[in-house]
């Protein structure tokens, strides 16, 4: 059971590190805007990164639903 004497302080140190990281992120303004980052991941501005053969084929003109 003596391992507890080691594990609990380690847990406390880890919590301390987590809090330090959290303070750092708050102070650098990462929590100032809680809305737009959630959306930004959905914006595909990475089209140039997709290999050409993996891109969906463009619709033929007669398939256009107008």
């Amino acid at each position: 059971m003596n391992i507890m004497y080691l594990l609990i302080p380690i847990a406390i140190v880890f919590s301390g590190l987590a809090i330090w990281g959290f303070f750092w992120s708050v102070n650098t303004g990462q929590y100032d805007d809680l809305e737009s980052p959630a959306h930004s991941i959905l914006y595909d501005d990475d089209e140039h990164l997709i290999p050409d053969d993996a891109k969906p084929k463009p619709l033929k003109p007669q398939d256009k639903t107008e």
Binding site: P9, S15, I19, V26, E35, S36, H39
Partner: protein, 835 residues
């Protein structure tokens, strides 16, 4: 070109802003190789700029509405360019720009026109693509942009211009004290919440070990060690996270009225100190888990409330935006562009048509109409000539004016209204006190019981007295008082927000439920706030369409608010051209249409060449605004304009009356239209022609007689009275300043949300009472057990959680609105068809 026109579809409206596309227009932009129709050259230019930048994905991502750009020309007006160029001057930049050694400048901007996250994406990409810009990030919550750029490669004015080009407006942003305070408050609250969250979980984990150990057996030295570890973890929560409760409790005790902060602090502080005692002496019980969990839950509630409060909190800059950044100074016969802040009393300035007056002054030469809507909420401009005084922040409509400045800065009328507002805030009845009353009694009862229990046990068994008193406080406090009200309030606030009523102050739900009077402003609140064509009554042989076409042709080039409904109408009809148009200020317009001479405007003016001169007495009726259209020989038609009441105004007022409220209308307007609208909407109590001060006095006298008043308004002149009423609601279209100072904002401008909100507020009161009732019931059982020393910590924990679940579950019932009056289908009126 033919192939490009094919996808255009009139039913869909403008691809960029969604407005109706005028019948005979052909504005097309290629977006991703596909031709899309636009409603005006402005939208076309903006869409082109977005497309040229390769940012078409904006149209795919956007979820909010896009506004039609401010300028309707392909190019940005020179005046604006000159104004923006002012921001390149070092003397002006020193107020908001910081520069690092390597020539990189940094500034914050306020961006207008942001509606959704796609706007942020568009702006960030568009600005970062400019050569010389090193960083651009836009905040969706407060519409601020952080820029850094290399001054050798790009000037601030060109960045601002390029923001205009994609349909937004950027202004330099000077953070004032209040803004900085809000920002640091948010960060502090986030840090407090984070600390409480992380450590609460750690402490809970250790507490589990203690509970399990109690049942299964655990070595004493380990118990002590875990207690010490819990102490280390819980200390930051109590000292840092829970500090707002302690300082609020000290303030409450000083001012002598009890709020929930007092027992919360007593429980947190007492349990924490007791746990330390238990840890040091290795006796009794520890409550570290209760302390941290309790603090964490309470902080979540406060955090959400604070977020809602800050949402509209942009007070500092809204006033700044109203006053123009630059002015044209007349010095030795020359026109100089200067920053508005550099103006002095006695300076002569030139205000061109379409510009905002930079400071209070007296007109020296010129005659024009002044749009005072920002100040008074009235949409019709006031005619002014030399010798008349003019207020800063209002807008010149027709002709250039020379003005001598009489007041600048804090002495201007606009600032005077803000001061009136501050005074009204001080006089505001403290609704929060009412909210705390019930809780106050409860708190007193709990404290008294704890005291009695403590004293009793002191005589029976002094060694148990402290522990038992504490368990009484811990057992009764959390769910009984602290969860019952906030959960209900949080759920109800969220429900209302989804339905278009944004609540920004904590007391609103309570005061809505208890309101006895509801007072409306007229223009822009009960009415739409702009003129629309009501009727056309031809007098001669001309048909309805012919007369309307002539009127539209004459009004086509006027920027006067009266001309606006004609512009809308003109887009739906075959265009007719007018020539030789002359504008007679304050009277009307004159021009040639189809070779005939026509006049439109005030009856006496328009009929001056006719055989009989007509006046307003000859108009078909005496409400609304009547214009006479006449040729040079005979009157042609009466054209009626009016500010129509909002669609649901009447049914809403009926419903409010049936709910037992006194409905009143309070307006600065003194024209006949007031009586007409009151009659149409069935309002009996009408007070018209009053100044902002008199409005405030009226509300205060109502309140002095015991009334609880809800005020609904929109203009800057409504702000003092909004601040003075127990509950104030601003319309979504209101000025920013009005919105920030209101307790709630009706985002969609749909009046029928008000009775719904009232119903929900009343239901909310009922549920809070049920919750408190349950809490009392729970305490009736738990308290005697705790008082007799029969409750073990884990039993108290289970009891507490179960009781909390009941309270929260009950509060969740508020997440549904009563679906009684949701009938009106979406706006149909925008598609006016010619008969």
């Amino acid at each position: 070109m033919n192939a490009q026109q094919e996808p255009g579809n009139n039913d869909q409206g403008c691809f960029h802003c969604g407005l109706d596309i005028p019948l005979h227009s052909n504005f097309i932009t290629l977006i991703k190789g596909k031709a899309q129709r636009m409603c005006c050259p402005g939208c076309q230019a903006v869409a082109q700029a977005i497309s040229d930048g390769g940012l078409e994905n904006y149209y795919k991502h956007r979820t909010g509405e896009t506004r039609s750009p401010e300028f309707t020309d392909l190019s940005i007006p020179e005046q604006l360019l000159a104004e923006l160029a002012l921001y390149d001057q070092a003397s002006i930049q020193k107020a908001f720009v910081s520069e690092s050694e390597d020539g990189i400048k940094q500034a914050a901007l306020v961006i207008e026109g942001i509606t959704c996250a796609a706007c942020v994406w568009l702006l960030e990409h568009h600005i970062s693509n400019l050569p010389g810009v090193t960083k651009a990030s836009v905040n969706l919550t407060n519409h601020r942009a952080q820029l850094s750029w290399n001054n050798d490669e790009i000037q601030l004015s060109s960045i601002l211009t390029s923001i205009y080009r994609i349909g937004y407006q950027g202004h330099p942003y000077h953070p004032d004290k209040e803004e900085q305070m809000l920002a640091s408050e948010t960060r502090k609250a986030t840090r407090r919440l984070g600390i409480a969250g992380v450590f609460c979980m750690q402490v809970m984990m250790l507490a589990m070990a203690l509970y399990a150990g109690k049942m299964q057996g655990i070595e004493d030295h380990l118990v002590n060690f875990i207690r010490w570890a819990s102490f280390v973890l819980a200390t930051p929560v109590v000292i840092y996270s829970a500090r707002p409760f302690f300082s609020a409790a000290i303030r409450d005790i000083k001012t002598g009225h009890l709020t929930m902060d007092v027992p919360v602090s007593l429980a947190v502080g007492g349990a924490y100190l007791a746990s330390i005692w238990a840890t040091v002496t290795a006796s009794g019980e520890v409550y570290y888990d209760s302390v941290t969990m309790f603090t964490f839950f309470l902080l979540i509630g406060r955090f959400l409330e604070m977020k809602a409060r800050h949402r509209t909190g942009r007070a500092g800059n809204s006033l700044l935006n109203l006053l123009p950044a630059s002015a044209t100074l007349l010095k030795d016969g020359e026109e100089l562009m200067v920053p508005a802040t550099d103006l002095n009393i006695g300076d002569r300035i030139l205000v061109k048509p379409g510009h905002t007056v930079p400071a209070d002054g007296i007109i020296l030469t010129g005659q024009s109409s002044i749009d005072e809507s920002a100040l008074t909420g009235e949409y019709l401009p006031v005619s002014k000539a030399s010798g008349d005084s003019i207020v800063g922040g209002t807008c010149n409509v027709e002709n250039p004016l020379q003005i001598e400045i009489t007041q600048v800065g804090a002495a201007t009328q606009l600032s005077a209204i803000v001061r009136l507002l501050e005074r009204a805030h001080e006089d505001k009845p403290k609704a929060a006190q009412i909210a705390d009353k019930l809780a106050g009694y409860f708190v007193a009862a709990v404290l008294l019981t704890a005291l009695v229990v403590g004293i009793t046990w002191w005589f029976i068994a002094p060694e148990h007295a402290f522990w038992i008193t504490l368990s009484v406080l811990v057992v009764t406090c959390p769910c009984a008082l602290s969860l019952a009200t906030p959960t209900a309030l949080t759920v109800a606030t969220g429900t209302l927000r989804q339905n278009g009523l944004l609540i920004t102050r904590g007391h609103v739900l309570e005061s809505l439920a208890k309101a006895t009077h509801i007072v409306f402003d007229k223009t822009g609140t009960l009415t739409e706030g702009n003129l629309s064509l009501k009727s056309v009554i031809p007098l001669g042989q001309s048909s309805y369409e012919q007369t309307l076409a002539i009127a539209c042709a004459l009004e086509a080039h006027s920027e006067h608010p009266i001309a606006k409904p004609f512009h809308t109408q003109a887009k739906l009809m075959e265009p007719v051209q007018a020539s030789e148009i002359t504008n007679h200020v304050g009277l009307g317009l004159e021009g040639q249409v189809n070779g005939l001479r026509y006049l439109i405007g005030k009856p006496a003016f328009a009929s001056q060449h006719c055989s009989t001169t007509l006046s307003y007495d000859d108009a078909p009726d005496n409400h609304g605004q009547w214009l006479l259209l006449a040729s040079d020989s005979e009157p042609v038609a009466w054209i009626g304009l009016s500010d129509a009441p909002r669609k649901q105004a009447k049914s809403t007022l009926n419903l409010l009356t049936r709910m037992g409220l006194q409905v009143e209308m309070l307006t600065g307007d003194s024209s006949a239209a007031v009586g007409h609208i009151a009659e149409e909407l069935g309002i009996k109590n009408v007070i018209s022609g009053v100044s902002p001060e008199q409005k405030l006095e009226h509300i205060q006298s109502l309140q002095a007689n015991g009334a609880r008043v809800i005020m609904v308004g929109d203009g800057i002149n409504d702000i003092p009275v909004l601040a003075g009423a127990q509950t104030s609601i601003a319309m979504g279209s209101a000025t920013d300043l009005a919105k920030t100072n209101a307790d709630a904002v009706l985002i969609s401008g749909e009046l029928q949300r008000l009775p719904q909100a009232l119903q929900l507020a009343r239901k909310n009161q009922k549920i809070i009472r049920q919750n408190l009732g349950w809490a009392i019931f729970y305490n009736m059982i738990a308290l005697p057990l705790a008082a007799t020393g029969m409750i073990a910590p884990y039993m108290a924990a289970i009891g507490m959680s179960a009781s909390s679940l009941v309270v929260v579950g009950n509060a969740l019932r508020l997440s549904k609105l009563a679906r009684t009056n949701r009938v009106e289908s979406p706006d149909q009126s925008r598609k006016i068809t010619t008969p």
